[in-house]
Amino acid sequence: MAAHRCSLSALLLIICSLLVFIVADSEKATLTGDHHATAVDNLQTVTETEEGAAAEEPAVEEERRWEETVVEEATADKEDTSAPETVVQSSVPQPKDDFQEELVIRPLHSGDIYASFQFRTLWETDFMRGNKVSHYRLFPKSLGQVISKFSVRELHISFTQGYWRTMQWGQPFLPSPPGAELWVWFQDSVTDVDGTWKELTNVLSGIFCASLNFIDSTNTVQPSASFKPLGIGNVTDHRFLRYATLPREIVCTENLTPWKKLLPCGSKAGLAVLLKSEKLFHSSFHSQAVHIRPVCQDWQCKTTSWELRQTLNVVFDLHTPGQGKLEWSLFKMFSRTLTEACPLASSSKIYIDITDDPQGEQFEVSPATHLLSQAMVLGDRRTFSVYDLTQQITFGTVRSLNLLIRWKSSEGDMLRPLLHAERYVAGYGLQTGEIHTLMYNNHPYRSFPVLLLDSVPWYLRLYIHTLTVTSKGKDNKPSYIHYQPSKDRVRPHLLEMLVQLPPNSVTEVTVQFERALLKWTEYTPDPNHGFYVGSSVISSLVPSIVAMDTNSTREQPLFSSFFPCKEESSYFMRVYTEPLLVNLPTPDFSMPYNVICLTCTVVAVGYGSLYNLLTRSFQIEEPSPGLAKRIANIIRKMRGVPPL
């Protein structure tokens, strides 16, 4: 079994490294400042009518208008261990640290609008090996100290309010589960990982003003395969990994403020002025995250730098029934407009996803831009309009940028994402139940493997012998299972499986459980609300949509399109299911008085009579004799004869 496991993790490693190459290849050429200038010059010369056609037919002349910058591939980056980004840095004069900010806006299929902020700080420094780092410029000091004190190699933390609706919104750039999620890789020099983890969660709890201090051994697991390091480094021993979620964590302004304070410009300038909590929390989905990881400094990767990536994703609800065109503007959504980039930022851009609108019929973007960019995002080729905030011309004569989009909504029918999942509790009553996890593979002809990670609290006692995995009515044997049973009040269940999803199928994983009766002090203050079970995590390499397109309508040279191109063939994806709310058998806390009265009565009556019977000596009582007999007895006594 152990050997089997080893070979499997080796396989996974190979998959990961393969992906790295894929991503590295897909990145295109680099861009420097003067390209921008020419592109912007073009902006005024080229007529409006040509603009729409540009996306359709990339002729040689128009090719120039394509901004050749690489759009950072959001999800694929996560698996990225080489550093194509640093290649960008190497061509310009090397600053010790660097800050970039960007905002991606995507009108969603359902008529909602998705805004994703990304802020990246790179710093060429080494926190480890006894270096005392005391001078901080762009990198937040609080996080730098955390990294060096706790020997953190990678840290990923996300706070999410709401559930990402894959069926309506497609895939997010950065997935995250409802509530708080934290996973950390420690350096292999750490000896007491659990102790360090405990301290780290308490410190982070203070930094982000969240209840991360509730992370303890009962909700921490060490996944063996699902969470591999995203930065450079070759330690994959999962002893140094800790993963925990708090599905009940409620995210609000008190978490946003410390998050904003980590930015070099705070919320004073740049894109961050848009982050007003009264608008951000008036949305359908809100997620903010911090990712810290080591990346390569240059293509030789001799030294490392630290990357801090702060992301914030928000989906605004634009439902207005019976209206043909939806309208969205920066001011309407954030109640602010942009006037400048963050002065400390080396790049500051806004991307608008206009892929669904090649003809310019659906969208109307104003002010118009001629700067286009194309990127592979989540296995799909997307086209973006780009606004460069470092250029004064972007703000026009009014010195403020208020992007305005009008588009037709195509509400109603749901998407069929290639991979999505749902989970629910089956059964009724408070004794047993069954957790069902459904994984959908909607690819018409390709099957692919997924890694399912389930962490279930100890008070649901999983009957692991009832674990079944079925797809298309047949038993689907997982090729790898890692199961760690729970210990009451000490650690949760951990179940990891590698399952092959057949094409166009639903795979159902079921496992029965028994609900434990807790000790009365272990109940939460609101026990009848139920107890949360965190989301399951499904990680997978999904065949890309572009590769699925066998009969390509895109005009490509014939010689380029016979074999499916490798770099686009699959991409990494992580899907979180919804958390579960499970009711446990709950005593009636509101009636202790009744219970006390009743038990006291029962004890008093029962014990009293039993005690009475046990301690009393029983004698047969002589019936009292008559007067004559008594007198006779007295006489007999005087005579010395025994009485009658």
């Binding site: 069926m167 059964g427 949360y532 919804e578 579960l580 019977l613």
Partner: protein, 591 residues
Amino acid sequence: MGLLSDPNRRRALISLLTRLNAPICVVCYMAGVAWFMGLAFEPFTLRTYMSENAMGSTMVEERFPAGERALGTGREFSAHKKKAGGMPVDWLVKTMQSRGLEVFTQRFSRRLPFPDEDKERYMVKGTNVYGILRAPRAPRTEALVLSAPCSPGDDNNQAVGVLLGLAQYFRNQVFWAKDIIFLVNEHDLIGMQAWLEGYHHTNTTGMDWSPLQGRGGSIQAALSLELSSDVVTSLDLVLEGLNGQLPNLDLANLFYAFCQKIGVLCTTQGKLQRNDWDSVSGYSHAVQTMMLMVMKQASGRPWGDHGLFLRYHIEAATIKGINSFRQYKTDATTIGRLLEGMYRKLNNLLERLHQSYFFYLMPSLSHFVSIGYYMPAFGLLALILLLRMSSPGVLSVLTPLVISHLTGVALYTLPIHFQEIAVEHFPVSETEAVVLTAIAVYTAGLALPHNTHRLLTGRGTENGWKVLKLVAVLYLAVLLGCTALINFSLGFILALTLVPVAAFVTPDVPKALSAFIMVILSPACTLLFSVFLFQELQEMPVSFLDGWMLYLSVISQGILDHALYGSLVYPLVALLVYPCWLLFWNILFWK
């Protein structure tokens, strides 16, 4: 404690009990009945009050404006229903989608064990359509349900209209913290059963359904709406669910509170509340209301689509619009506002409804009788059984016990299995065959067991019947006690008729007269009387012949309820109550 351990006093108590046994029993019975009747007297009952703090003081404003438009949607729905000849699935899906919901459908089919003549159905096939309004920034862990049945004919079109109107209005509000599921179920309870089984992925009754695609987490509360006219006089609250289960009293309180706030006439059991509790007519009105609730609860069947939710520990009630000939009318906008208010308060819930009572009776919507008040009435009846335990003997009663229970098993299984044979040989329909077989088995049982002890011993010993009676009386006491805990009404009604039989039957009483009395007080006749009483209470008295037909259909419905929704009244009567009664019958014919 001396009372129990002091032999003298104990002896005195026992002699008192044996000497005055019969009078005490009579007094207990009278007191039990009197206590029960007293429950409806207003000064003896409690006013309802909201126990759940999350729903209590929070103010909500109701602003639902679009009653007229909802009725228009209802008319459109009815047109499409006529055109489709059933559930207009496509239209509903499109309409719900255009209102911004996530829409899913569920197909189901079920072959009934025998044709249901009341509702004219045998092979049932249908589709449920439901749309989920996703709450912003909620992680899909909690949900509320609003359902309306798609009924045949012209019924409940307005309910679907109001449901869709509310969906549209709710979609534009920002305050939802729980997902709201709008469900239109076909074939009333069968569709609801299919949906609930699909949602919880259980299969208790062998129904075929397609699995659900979308869910909203654990359902906290549900309301079912029945509305068949554009304006209503009053709204009726139906609480009685499967197996006599009731929702938490706070749900009824919530409804009452909003009716008071908005100024809608509200009823329970179709009876308005009266203020003249001190007059005779006022009191009898309250008794009527309470008795109706008792009868309905005792029947153990779901009295609205909400009834099946209760098995899953989801608090649910049905709200029925009633249009009578009074002047006072309420329009659809007001009903919409009422529902909006209720959902907003349910949305505020932090925990499941659990603060208030689960066991209660309601003599009016504003008053209730809690379990602590009504149990003594039953306790007084059950006490008689304990008092009538006579001296013990040898265990020679096994044969009558086994034979009575076999009769019970026959009563439980034969009607459905023998329907085909019966239909072949007699000119009756399947439903009649089932019911008549049940009655035949029941009557045949009367002939059987009074000869059983002779088969065993050859003689009816004096001690034998006493032991049998001891066993039977204890059996009945335990049986009724358990029933009354779960379903007070059923337990009480059974106790009312069975306890006198149990108390006074011996082989020495005049045979013919007591046999007649016993038959009159047997479970089947209790059911017959209940049918007549129920009609009387509803102020719809029936002739004897109609009553008999109704009686037959009630039996068939009982068997169907058991097969379709897992109602437990029929197996309880067939497997436990009837054999127990047979034991007493046996005692009567001991010699």
